[in-house]
Each structure stands twice: as structure tokens, then as C-alpha cells.
Amino acid sequence: MTNIDVLEDKKDKLIAKRYSKEKRFILFGRLAISLTIIFLTILLGSIVLRGISGFTTTTITFDVNLDKKLIDPESTNDKKIISSARWRKITRDSIYNVLNEINLVMNGEVLSKAEQKSLVRLFSRSSEYQIKDIVMDDLSLIGKTINVTLPAASEVDQFLKGRIDQSLPEDDRPLNNIQISWIKHMVDNDMINRTFNSNLFTKGDSRNAEEAGILGALMGSFFALLICLLISFPLGVMASVYLEEFAPKNRLTDVIEVNINNLAAVPSIVFGLLGLAIFLNVFNLPRSSPLAGGLVLALMTLPTIIISSRAAIKAVPPSIREAAMGLGASKMQSVTHHVLPLAMPGMLTGTIIGLAQALGETAPLLMMGMVAFIVDVPQSITDPATVLPAQIFLWSDQPERGFEEKTAAAIMVLLGFLLTMNALAVFLRNKFERKW
């Protein structure tokens, strides 16, 4: 072998090494990207898998005997008397009778106390109130036997969705053997059905998983976002108009600009501290109210809106301003009549994106007391309320199994809203964006 061959050989090896390094580098890049996409898939997948069943619920259909003697023995038709009737007994008696209906128990045979308790546990704890509400709406039902469809207890729901492991020892399960056999019989007799979970969208929070809904949180989020929009949009637009069109180049303007950029990166929880100290303790705004929460969100959204609005104003070519001023408009008129309308789609896009961020924000609202167990749906901006992400946070802490799918379902609703808002922003941008 000559020297040259050795050198050639070395060179080939070196080149091969360099190329394999190149390949490895590309592999790392691909790996990083696939890893990111896998993370995203697992994140969304695990939530959908858990949450999709939260949109359905289990109901039990059974006969309720509205015994006149127990409700209104003297035929007064007085709502006060009827509302304080022995609804629990009426409900329980009808529930004990359920087993007769499906011929599991011979007529006359009496259940033991423990069996009665097990049976009642299959029904929602709210059953007696719902039966009462049905009667209060239609007093002519008193004395009749009506057929009602009420939510089953959350455990029954979870069992039928396969989330309760039957192989566990009986004591470790939320349902014992006899309850499971009853459930199976009731399913065979078409007493138990899966339906759309309308409670999820029509009710406020509840301690019972089968009764809990997100309407209260949705209304809270709506009010808070309304406040946020009403404050941050005008302020943001006005501030960006000033900074882009009128601000002199001086120190103050520089300070404002640096300030806005920094505010956009301040941790959200610090805004919560600000809200707690200023809005709640100095201005004495009502705690837990969408008003106070919305104000904090407005301060957080402001930098986002200002930054995107300024970009939108910058994109309007100077020739538009010059043409307006050439026709005798003042600077202010050229801005309000020409620049602002042209920049509006861009500003709206930024605002929607800012609002979407505000909708998903939780931490500062924790500080404002917007994580509380609130059953009533808020009616105004000063009522105590919670917001959708805070509701998710609250539910994720609940030990009861039924809340897990509720939490994931609520997350799906939240993500749905965010998706819609972002899609709207993209649509606006594509539809109105102009290339000058």
C-alpha cells in the first residue's frame, strides 16, 4: 500500500464519519419534532379518552307513587305545605318498590335495612328534590303514580362505563355484589339508560358528580371576559394609536414601550397579587366577582392587545395618511377616519387572541377568590362566580371518581371555545388582511 492509498483511505473514513454525523444530527432533529407531536397527541388523547364519556350520563326510569296522604292530606293545594311534605319518604318508598317492578323481589317481601340502603345508593342523592320539583310544577299529579327518569348515582354511571374494577374485593369497591346484580337486572329490564348529559350544560356546581354542571362557570367566564373586553379593547386601541401615531420620540415613550414588553412577560400570578392588593383591598370590590376578576384579566390582556394593534397600525401604509392630510384632514381625522378602520381587523385579531388567553387563565383568578364552591349560576358581574378553568381546577381535586370524566369533559369544552376563538381570529386575518 502506498502512502497515497493510506491517505485516501483516511480521507474516505473521515468523510464517512462526517456523513454519519450529519445523519445523526438530522435524526436528532426529527426525533425532537416527533417527540413534540407525540406529547401533543398524548396530552389531547388522554383528555379526550377520559372526557368523552362525561358527555353521557346514566338515568334510571321508575314509578313514583305520589301518595296524597304524604303530600297534601287536606287537599289545601298550598305550595308551602306541599313543599315541606315528606319527600324523602315518598322517594324512598318508590325506590324500595323498584325491585318489585322487575320481579326481583316477590310482593310483600321486605328488604333488610342494609339492602334498602344499598338500593337507595344507586339513585342520585338529589332524586327527592327533583321529584318535588316535578310535583310543584304540576299539582294535579298528586295522588297519581308517575313514571320518572332521574339520574343514577355517579357510581352506577361509572360502573356501566367500565371504570369500576369488578375483580377488586367487595369492600374496596364503591358498589357491592348485590348492587351490581341489581344494576344488571335493571339494565336487562330497560330501566337504566345512557343519555346525553344535559346536567353538564344546564347546572351549576354540585357535590354530587351526577348533578354537577359547568353552566355557572361558563357564565362566570362570560362575565369576566365581557369586563375584560370592555376595558382592555378601548384602552389597548387608544394606547397603540397614541404610541404609533402621536407619541413624540422621548424618554417617556421609551419607558412606556419597554414597560409594555415587560408586562407581557410578567408571571400571571403577580397580576393576581396586584388584583388582591388593589382591587379587593383598596377599592373593596366584591371578592370572587367577575368584575374584579375581569379587571385583572384586562390588565393582563392589555399588553397583548397593544402589541398586536401597533403591528396592525404599522401595516397601514403612510400614503393613506398623506392622502387624507393632503385633502385637508387633520392628523387626528386621518387617523380616526382612515388608519383606524383599515387597522381594525388586525386589532380585532389580536384582541380575540388576547381574550382566548384570558379565558384559559387560572392563577390570577385563584387570588381573586374565584375558586369557590358556588352552586348558583351568577346573574350579574358582582355575583360570586367561578370561571371555567377554575372549575376544572376544583373538580380535578375531587376524590369521587365521577368527577374525573367531568373534569376532562369540561376541559374539552374549554378547548373547544379556545379553538373556536382562534379559528375566528385566523378567519378574520385571512379575510381582511391586505397586502399593500
Binding site: 462526517r18 444530527f25 394606547a239 415587560n262 412577560a265 400570578i269
Partner: protein, 455 residues
């Protein structure tokens, strides 16, 4: 809050628009001489009708609100007045509740209630009458002024400019508000706890203050374990997000085809749009239990709340920050540098490693710093997945606590606002704000400088 005088000035303002406009129409010379429009005169009159009266209304409200409390406090018979200042405030609050027609548990002196009601009545009456008269007077004065060829347009534009300026000041006011509220509470905190103890103390256990003046309520406020927990979780997050984000950015900007980029970039960005509470749920219910099961199968003790779970999920959350910021930076490295490197025979990866990364380094460092500041300030993931106990540990499978978790646990729920516990939360907030501010200012400055360098 909205009483009749506000409705009045609002209605008067509304009608004054048309009145002003008509007035301007009749004055033929006005428009040609001043260069304004008729509507400018309408708005001119509206502003003068509403603004002074409204400002007067606000000032009166604030002052009377302060005076009424002081005066009512003075009206309380001496033998009933509590000694303690915060008790006085509570007592006053219950008097106000009773005066407004509510009921209170504690017995309140009727003389003060009557005094409060009287004061409130006359104050509101005086406020309404003077607001309405101010509004009327300034309406008539400036209605007359329209005749004397006043330049309404210039005036209007100056007013608008003032409003524009004020709204751009709001951003500064927010920062000032943040700093003030943090500083006030933090200085109070450092009257109870020494600065040395806070920054170097090894025990963090803020006790629940069950009763006022309870001796056992004095907690221990050494923040080192809290900082250590924050640090541990941030390191875990950056260990995941740093390489993954950087390599994604490099691949997307240097190797990927246009079509791949078009699909993959928005997909990664979806991660940035997912609310943090969703990541928290994911960490607490999916990653946490998974890590516990895995480590138990290796025979390692682990709790379901672990620094690893919170850190990894936080890492996933900040991948898009690093990747999109680094992507921008790498893209702004001039093409000529790449071509020069290819020209001397370097492969693509060699060009990236030896030329592009060094050229983009300041920007990449800035991106990392922004990501770190994001990780330090992130709240929901750690609240839901990291735990509450302040332990000084480097074991990622152990549960640790962070600055943000402590702020939340100290402040959520009802307790007295002025206890050391709540002030400790503000001290932590101050620390957090200072650290993130330094990181942000530095990063923003570097990015700005960097852009100028290559533009």
C-alpha cells in the same frame, strides 16, 4: 352608585350634541372661519356638559366616602368604641350595614346609625344638586361660546389626545401598581421576619393563624427550600424543553421542506395555546401516576406528587416558546454566512454547529432565559402536581414545593389579610417578580440588539 344626577347629566349631554350642532348650523360664518364641522360643535358641547360635572361627582364621592367613615366613627359613644383599630373597622362596617337596611349580629348604637343615614342623605343630596347645577352652568356658558367663533375641532382633538395619552400610561400605572402593592406588603413582612432568615433560612412552615394573637401562629419563614424546589422543577423542565425545542427549531428552519414546516410549526404552537390548568390536569392524572408506577416497578419509593411529573409537563409546555423564539433567531442569521460555510466544504450539520449556532447564540440564550422566566412563574402545573411540603431535596421523585405554589396556598381561602402569612406571599411574589423581571429585561434587550445587528 348610579343616582339620578348621573342620569341627568347623561341625558343633558346626549341632547346637547344636537343643540350644539344646530347652534353651529345657524352661525353661518363659523364653519368657514374655524375649519371645523358642525358635529365638532355638538361634541364640544357634550364634553363641556358632562366632563366637569362628572369629575366633580367622582371627587365628591371619594371625599364624602372618607369623611362619612371618620365622622361616624366620631359619633360612636366612647364607652362602645373598641380600642383595637381593626375592631373599630369591623364595628364601623356593621354600623354601615345596619344603616343601609341590613342586619348585623353585633349590637350597634342607634345614634351612629342615624348619624350615618343623615350624613349619607345630605351628602347625596348636595352631590346631586351641585353636579346638576355644574352641568347646567357649563352647558350654558359653552353654548354661548359657540357664537364667538371658538375652534371646537382643535379643542376636541386636544381632548382626544389627552385620553389617548392617559390610556398609554395605564401600562406604566399597572407596573407601578404591581411594584407598590408588592413593596408595601413586603416591607411589612420584613418587620416580622428578618431578611437574613427569609433568604437563608432552611425551614419553611408558615403556620395557620387560627386566632388573632395566637402564640403558635408564628411560623418559620426560611425560603431556601421553596427556592430549591422551584429551581429543581425549572431544571427538569429545561432539561426536556431545551434540547427538544432547540433541535425542533434547527430542523424546522434548516432541514424541513416548506410543506413540512407549514404543518409542523402550527402544530407545535398548539402546545402554547393549551391553558395551563389543562397541563396541570395532565400532570396530576396521567404523568404523575405513570411516574409513580414506573418508579415503583424499579423499587423506588415515590409519591404521586413528584417534581419529575411537574417538571416534565412544564417542559412540554415551554417547548413551543424555545422552538419558535430560536426559530426566529436562526432564520435571521444572514444567508451569506451559510453559503460561505458550504463554500469551504462544510456539511450542513457542521455549518449549523460551527457557524449558525455561534452566530445565533445570544438570541438562543435570550430564548432560554424567557423560557426559564416562564417556568419559574408558572403556577397551575405545580399547584396541581408538585405538592405543598417544603423539602430541601434533589430527588426528582420526591414532592417539592415552589414559590408560586406557596403564594397560592398562602392566599387562597379566607383569612386575615394582615397576617405574616399573607405578607409572606407578597414577599415571595416580590422575589418572583424581581427574578423574572431581570431575566425578561435582559432577554428582551439581547433580542432587540441582535435584530439590529443583522438587519
Amino acid at each position: 352608585m348610579f343616582d339620578i344626577s348621573l342620569y341627568f347629566i347623561f341625558l343633558l349631554g346626549l341632547s346637547s350634541y344636537y343643540i350644539g350642532k344646530n347652534r353651529a348650523k345657524k352661525n353661518i360664518n363659523l364653519i368657514t372661519e374655524t375649519g371645523g364641522l358642525e358635529s365638532h360643535y355638538g361634541m364640544y358641547l357634550v364634553i363641556w356638559t358632562i366632563l366637569p360635572a362628572f369629575i366633580f361627582y367622582l371627587i365628591w364621592s371619594v371625599i364624602s366616602n372618607y369623611l362619612i367613615k371618620e365622622a361616624t366613627l366620631g359619633s360612636i359613644p366612647n364607652d362602645l368604641l373598641p380600642n383595637n383599630l381593626s375592631m373599630q373597622k369591623l364595628f364601623l362596617d356593621s354600623i354601615i350595614v345596619v344603616a343601609k337596611g341590613g342586619s348585623s349580629l353585633s349590637k350597634v348604637p342607634e345614634i351612629s346609625v342615624a348619624f350615618y343615614q343623615n350624613f349619607a342623605f345630605y351628602s347625596t343630596l348636595g352631590k346631586s344638586i351641585s353636579t346638576i347645577s355644574i352641568s347646567l352652568i357649563s352647558f350654558f356658558i359653552f353654548y354661548k361660546k359657540i357664537d364667538s367663533n371658538v375652534r371646537a375641532k382643535n379643542f376636541l382633538e386636544r381632548i382626544i389626545l389627552v385620553f389617548l395619552f392617559i390610556s398609554s400610561i395605564i401600562a406604566i400605572m399597572t407596573t407601578v401598581g404591581i411594584i407598590l402593592s408588592l413593596i408595601v406588603e413586603t416591607t411589612k413582612f420584613f418587620q416580622d421576619v428578618t431578611i437574613f432568615e427569609y433568604f437563608f433560612g432552611l425551614l419553611w412552615s408558615p403556620q395557620m393563624a387560627l386566632r388573632e394573637g395566637q402564640v403558635a401562629a408564628e411560623g418559620s419563614f426560611g425560603a431556601v427550600p421553596v427556592f430549591a424546589g422551584t429551581f429543581l422543577i425549572t431544571i427538569i423542565a429545561m432539561a426536556l424543553a431545551g434540547p427538544v425545542g432547540l433541535f425542533s427549531a434547527i430542523y424546522l428552519s434548516e432541514y424541513a421542506s416548506k410543506n413540512t414546516r407549514k404543518i409542523v410549526k402550527p402544530t407545535i404552537e398548539v402546545l402554547a395555546g393549551v391553558p395551563t390548568v389543562v397541563y396541570g390536569f395532565f400532570a396530576a392524572l396521567v404523568v404523575g401516576p405513570f411516574i409513580r408506577r414506573t418508579s415503583e416497578s424499579f423499587g423506588l419509593a415515590s409519591s404521586s406528587e413528584s417534581a419529575l411529573a411537574a417538571g416534565l409537563v412544564m417542559g412540554i409546555m415551554i417547548i413551543p416558546f424555545i422552538s419558535s423564539l430560536s426559530d426566529d433567531v436562526i432564520n435571521s442569521v444572514p444567508q451569506s454566512l451559510r453559503e460561505a460555510s458550504f463554500g469551504v466544504g462544510a456539511t450542513k450539520s457542521e455549518t449549523i454547529k460551527k457557524v449558525i449556532i455561534p452566530a445565533a447564540l445570544p438570541g438562543i440564550v435570550a430564548a432560554f432565559m424567557l423560557a426559564i422566566s416562564r417556568a419559574i412563574g408558572e403556577t397551575m402545573i405545580v399547584v396541581m402536581a408538585a405538592g405543598l411540603s417544603a423539602k430541601l431535596t434533589a430527588n426528582p421523585l420526591d414532592s417539592v414545593t415552589t414559590v408560586t405554589v406557596q403564594i397560592v396556598t398562602l392566599l387562597v381561602g379566607d383569612h386575615e389579610f394582615d397576617s405574616t402569612k399573607t405578607m409572606a406571599a407578597f414577599a415571595l411574589g416580590m422575589t418572583l417578580f424581581a427574578i423574572t423581571l431581570i431575566l425578561n429585561i435582559y432577554a428582551i434587550r439581547v433580542v432587540k440588539k441582535y435584530r439590529e445587528k443583522y438587519d
